[in-house]
Every structure is written in C-alpha cells, then in structure tokens.
C-alpha cells in the first residue's frame, strides 16, 4: 500500500503543529486567561470553547482524538494508529480494575470514570460494561484472558502494583504483536525501543529505591532489544556505569548524554523526558522518506509531545508554578 499521499498530507498537517517558540510564549502568559487567549489561534481553541476553560485537560484529549480520527480516514494501515492508541486502552483497564478493587474492598466511591481516556481504540462505555459485567469475550489485545488473570492475582495477593505490571506486560506484548502483524521493520524496531525505554525507566526507579536485583526481574517487560535479565543485572552496578554496559544498544546513548551532563541523578521526570525525546528521535529517519509508514507514528508521537507540552504549560500558568522548571519539562516536539 502506497504511503505517498499519506506522508504528503502529514507534511501539510505538520505545519499546524505548535513549535517551541509558541510554548515559550505560552509560558510567559501572566495568567490562565492570557494563555487561553494565546491558544485562540490554534486548533485547541474549538475544544476549549466546548469543554470550558477549567477543563483544558479534556480539551487537549479531544484535540488528539480529532487528529486520530482524521488520520484514520486516510492512513492505509489502521493498525499504525492502534499502536499509538493501544496504551490508552490498557490505561483504561487499569483505571476500571482499580476502581472495582476498591469497590470490592468496601469503598463506595472507588470508581473514577473521570480518569478514563477517550483515546483508546475501545469505546470507554463498552469497556466499562465489559469489565463490570465480566463479559470480556469481545475485547481485543489479549484482554479477554488478561482481566480474569488480574482478578485472580488481586484475589490472591491484593497487590495493585503486581496487577499493574501484569497489564503492562500484556500491553507491550500486544503492541509488538500489532507491529509484527504490520511487517514494517522500523515500526517493530520502535516498539522494541519503547519497551527498552520503559524497562530503563523502571530500572532507574528501582535503583533509586535500592531494590534487590534478584527480585527485580518481574518489573521488566519482554520483547525489547535488551533482555529483562540484563536489565535486572544493571541494578547490581553503579548507575554511572550503565551507559558503558549498554553501549551496545541505541538507548545507551541516552544514558551517555545524561552522564555527560552529570545528570544521572536527575529527577525521574528529566530521565522520562530524555527517553520520550529518544523515542521520537529513533523514528526521525522516516522524515527523510517520502513514503515511510513510520511517518504516521512519528506524527502522532509529535502531536502527543505537543499535547504534553500544552499540559505542562497550562498547569504551570494556572498553578503559578516556577516557569523555568516548566520550561525544562517541555519536550522537543516539533
């Protein structure tokens, strides 16, 4: 299937993405009203007028959803969009299950429907009904088997973190399966790098908690370019040496950069930002191709980074937080 039309249209759509200069201006807004006024010239304004100024989070989700719907109308392989949207399905499953766990534990206000994201591929109402009525038969991505396993695990151990890990393991398995079904090497590679990035994030978090390497294996997901065993072994080594140990991988360069900046002790948010930027960077080769399907994923991730920047900027302005700190959190989207 040819992607010439798709990529050309994406190039046109890229012109509407907001650049770092815009976010810098947004950060300089004196108050939230000024910031929302600045948004008036962007595609976000139509959603803000619908959701109201207090609910800009929903407006940002609506903008991404609208972009996904637009892409769906002309991207030849819809599964490319699914790779992007699938994590939101798994997020929704987590929200619904955690709510039900609380309800079973006797909390009447356990359900948090407001935390559900409309960005998933499964309609939130259908997903809610399926989970609450225990009718999982139609659910995709292995959720049919996963949800009963989650219940078993919860009933046995009452450990929400273990359930969350089980869901994440399945999410990455499903992402890899969708990517492999597409038979697009750069997309498969990206999913593997995404798993590596998630594993590295977990490793850094565990290292800071001085977690026992012997018990850490369960925290790492299968399917990346780095084996979970090797990830767990990192915990036995000083963090400064990780970039050398992982120098045979592409993600080693991210650690190297953090090392060079003397930033290995940086906050997890900074590490996360570096990994998010890395995941955008690994797809950037697609920019030089006029028909690489990975351009679809690259565009969606850039749009997601834009939405993330928008959230950071608006939260900073609305909450009167330190703008310099906010600027540090902005991703290198467009």
């Amino acid at each position: 299937m040819s992607y010439v039309y798709t990529v050309a249209r994406l190039r046109g759509m890229e012109n509407h993405l907001l650049d770092s200069a815009f976010f810098s201006r947004l950060m300089d807004s004196a108050n939230i009203d000024d910031a929302l006024k600045a948004l008036g010239e962007t595609s976000y304004s139509q959603w803000i007028s619908q959701t109201g100024t207090a609910n800009f989070d929903k407006a940002i989700d609506s903008e991404i959803l609208a972009v996904c719907d637009e892409l769906k109308s002309f991207v030849p392989d819809k599964e490319l969009l699914d790779i992007f949207r699938l994590p939101y399905d798994f997020h929704n499953v987590k929200v619904l299950l955690k709510g039900l766990f609380k309800v079973r534990g006797g909390e009447t206000e356990g359900r948090r429907y407001d935390l559900l994201s409309k960005l998933g591929t499964i309609d939130t109402e259908e997903l809610t009904n399926a989970i609450e009525t225990e009718e999982y038969g139609f659910l995709p991505y292995g959720l049919t088997d996963l949800i009963p396993q989650c219940w078993q695990l919860w009933d046995a151990a009452k450990n929400a973190q273990a359930v969350e890990l089980l869901i994440d393991h399945q999410m990455f398995r499903a992402m890899l399966a969708v990517a492999e079904g597409l038979k697009m090497p750069d997309v498969i590679q990206w999913v593997k790098f995404r798993i590596d990035a998630e594993n590295l994030r977990a490793a850094i978090r565990l290292a800071r908690m001085k977690y026992d390497a012997g018990k850490a294996l369960t925290f790492f997901h299968e399917g990346g370019t780095i084996r979970p065993d090797d990830m767990a072994k990192l915990l036995n080594e000083p963090q400064e040496t990780w970039s050398r140990i992982l120098s045979y991988t592409d993600i080693g360069a991210v650690l190297n950069a953090l090392n060079e900046q003397g930033d290995m002790k940086a906050s997890l948010t900074d590490v996360s930002k570096a990994l998010d930027d890395y995941l955008l960077k690994v797809l950037e080769d697609a920019k030089y191709s006029m028909d690489a399907p990975a351009n679809v994923l690259l565009f969606l991730l850039t749009k997601e980074a834009e939405a993330r920047n928008m959230r950071v900027a608006l939260v900073c302005v609305a909450g009167g937080l330190d703008r310099e700190f906010g600027r540090r959190l902005l991703s290198n989207g467009r």
Partner: protein
Amino acid sequence: MEMLGLSLAMLGAALAAALAGIGSAIGIGVAGGAAAGVMTEDPNKFGSCLILQALPGTQGIYGLLIAFFVLNKLGLLGGGGALAVTWNQGLQILFSCLPIALAGWQSAIWQGRTSAASIQMISKKPEAMGKAIILPAMVETYAVLALLVSILMLMGVQVG
C-alpha cells in the same frame, strides 16, 4: 524477410512510446498522490504542485518523439507506403529505440518519486521551490541523454 525488418523497426517504435509512456504515467501518478496530500491541507499550493507533478511526463514525450522519428524513417507518416527494410536494418532501428524506451521508463518512475519528495518539501518550505524543481530535474538528465543516443543511432541507420 522484408516484412520482418519492418516489424522489428515498428516494435522499436512501439517500445519507445509504450515503455517511456508507462514510466511517465507511474511517475506522474506517484507525484500526483503527493500533490493531492499536500493540497488537502493547503489548496493554495496547486500551482507549485502542478509543475512538479508534470516533470516526469517528459519521458513519455521523448518516447513519442522517437516513435514518430522511426515511423517517419519507415515512410509510414507521409501516406506513401512503407519503405523496404531489411531484417538487419529493422534490428538496428529496434536497438536504437531501446535507450529511450528503457531509460525513459525507469527514469520517469524515479523522477516521480523525487518529485513527490519535492512536493512534500514545498509543503513545509514553499520558498524552496527552485531547489525543489532542480532535484527531480537532475533525474531528467539521463532521460535526455538516452533520447540523444536514440536520435544519433537512428540517424545512423540507412533505410530504403
């Protein structure tokens, strides 16, 4: 044997027109896909897109030119009937047509791809239109060289 010569020569003309034409159609199609994508977002780019989309069309014209050249050489255009062509002369004409047939076919497809990339480029940087034309025009060089070789070879073939 006289008919075989004429047939070989006409096969050459047919290949020149058909292969170069097919290449141009594919090239224009690829560039057109990109142009449609860009214009969906910005219809004002029609003029620039049209120029770039038309570039891979020249190979088809070169093929047609060589086909006319051959038909004229065979006396088929004036209405006076075909000239006598030996199988050897027919084969020479067929070979003379191959440079533009093959180079035209392939260069048009690749020029179409380069044009599509250039169309995507002007979508983001409209001010780079000059550069955007030069890149696919580089591919054109080889179609022009093939046309030249075909013309020189045909001029060397003595018929009748």
